[in-house]
């Protein structure tokens, strides 16, 4: 594509960034008017944005009130998520690809998979607590189930979408079945596999927070939950912002990976 054609969307996206920034500031301003200026709600229900922002920074050094600093919570949450997610990817992606490529294997695994598929990740929380207690393991297993489904579904569709004409090319060149799998089907599926990784990570992160609300002694979800009990809405909101921020960061990192691995396929 020529340089000129690229100019349009880029200029536009700059404009959009300005609009987005304006909207965030407007939101904060109204929030501030509502709480600090008009005092329309009691501070122990909705604290002012200034209070939340200062709490956010203080929490990076302060362990009070619930017993750990923000970084410790983030680290704990990330550790659990990434453990479950990594196992989910390691099992889910190959499983999805094999289901998409080997028909007999698909028939064999599908009944079980179709049974598990509609169960939302967080529905596994109670049974995992029964099996593994409230340590890292039970939550990691919840994340594992969440990530697994998204990875299998996307890798499967990706593999199934391999173009016939590409398989013809492989066959006329005398490629073996395994060569066709590794050199044609998997590269064909790569965009959807990566989409699966991204969807799975976002889903894992939300499932984790839910899991931590119920069964935890550390982590962002735990922090929010504790502060609800002891009435610290400023920490709750600071925690929510952190959850959103870390989630967005994780998605961004995977987008970078996607760009790297799919170079040449899109006009990036």
């Amino acid at each position: 594509m020529s340089k000129n054609e690229n100019k349009g969307p880029k200029k536009k996206s700059k404009k959009y960034i300005l609009i987005s920034i304006a909207s965030v500031f407007l939101f904060l301003f109204i929030w501030w008017l509502y709480t600090d200026v008009f005092k329309a709600v009691p501070a122990n229900a909705l604290p002012s944005p200034i209070k939340v922002i200062s709490t956010f920074f203080i929490k990076f050094v302060e362990t009070k009130p619930e017993g750990a600093t923000m970084l410790q919570h983030i680290f704990s949450s990330l550790q659990t998520t990434l453990t479950g997610y990594a196992i989910g990817v390691a099992v889910g992606v190959p499983l999805g690809i094999c289901m998409g490529w080997f028909d007999k294997f698909d028939m064999f695994v599908r009944p079980i998979f179709d049974l598990l598929r509609p169960i939302p990740g967080i529905a596994w929380i109670p049974v995992m607590i029964v099996f593994f207690g409230i340590g890292l393991m039970s939550k990691a297993m919840v994340i594992f189930m969440t990530a697994l489904i998204a990875c299998v579904v996307n890798s499967y569709s990706g593999t199934k979408q391999t173009l016939n004409v590409h398989l013809w090319v492989g066959r006329t060149f005398g490629a073996s079945n395994l060569e066709m799998l590794f050199r044609i089907a998997i590269p064909s599926a790569m965009p959807l596999i990566l989409t699966g990784l991204r969807v799975a990570l976002a889903a894992s992160w939300s499932a984790l927070v839910a899991a931590e609300l119920l069964a935890s002694n550390r982590g962002l979800g735990f922090m929010i939950q504790q502060c609800r009990v002891i009435g610290r809405p400023d920490v709750i909101i600071a925690g929510m912002i952190t959850i959103g921020g870390v989630g967005a960061l994780l998605t961004y990192l995977l987008k970078l990976l996607e760009k790297l691995l799919l170079k040449g396929r899109k006009n990036i």
């Binding site: 594509m1 066959r171 050199r183 396929r265």
Partner: protein
């Protein structure tokens, strides 16, 4: 003229069955293609040209009848038959070089030899300088050049081309026809070329086989002995064009 038979179709028929009904797509094709001949299968519509070509390629089996290439019965695809496809068949995740050397890589040719050979065919189709370009950055005509280089690179005896220029604009199409003739002139192969464009057929063919529509069967053959390169507006060209088009119209 050298009259060695390279491809022989022996009453080839193909019926696709859907639920209970049979659907005749190719019917009783008897066809002989000679060494280094440029044979054009000329036919309209959506009725069996690709199927016939895929049967010769060994990608599909005939319902009845047999295909022989170099006196050997075709029972599957093989490296002595290169195929250039109708639609976007390049691997989008590979560069020009990656696409062209794909076949010989599968055949286990070492890297150095592979690069050398792929480069030769990239040069042949006029794509030097685009070795490391991904297909998305190539124009339609360039993509088909890569497709041609990729098929040539395994050094097949037979080249099967399925409407390779069908998706190109008219200008590029003329250009590619001339290019293909030059390429074929330099690297002679037995070619079976499918098209529904009469100018393309007349410009390229040593022999045109006109096909009936639905199911595909042979209607008539024309030996085209005009000297090359041909003029699209030459007297004989226009005469044959009228004659064959007229003949076709009667089938529709």
């Amino acid at each position: 003229m050298n009259k060695d038979v390279v491809i022989k179709c022996d009453s080839v028929s193909k019926i696709f069955y859907s639920s209970d009904k049979g659907f005749d797509v190719v019917k009783n094709i008897d066809l002989t293609v000679f060494k280094n001949e440029f044979l054009v299968l000329f036919g309209p519509g959506q009725c069996g040209k690709t199927t016939l070509l895929n049967i010769i390629a060994g990608l599909d089996m005939p319902t009845s009848g047999k295909v022989y290439v170099n006196n050997k019965e075709v029972i599957g695809p093989g490296p002595e038959r290169g195929v250039v496809y109708q639609s976007i068949s390049l691997f989008p995740w590979l560069t020009t070089m990656g696409n062209v050397e794909f076949g010989i890589k599968a055949a286990g040719v070492g890297k150095k030899e592979r690069r050398k050979r792929a480069q030769y065919y990239i040069d042949l189709v006029g794509l030097q300088g685009f070795e490391n370009t991904y297909p998305i950055k190539l124009s339609g005509g360039m993509k088909q050049r890569v497709g041609i280089a990729r098929a040539y690179c395994i050094e097949p005896v037979v080249m099967l081309m399925d409407e390779p220029f069908g998706a190109l604009d008219a200008q590029t199409r003329y250009l590619m026809q001339k290019e293909l003739e030059i390429i074929w002139g330099r690297e002679k192969r037995t070619v079976v070329f499918v098209t529904n464009n009469i100018e393309e057929a007349l410009f390229l063919a040593d022999r045109i086989v006109v096909l009936n529509n639905c199911p595909t069967s042979i209607r008539q053959e024309y030996v085209i002995d005009m000297p090359r390169p041909r003029e699209y507006t030459g007297e004989k060209f226009l005469y044959l064009r009228k004659e064959i088009t007229g003949n076709m119209d009667k089938t529709l």
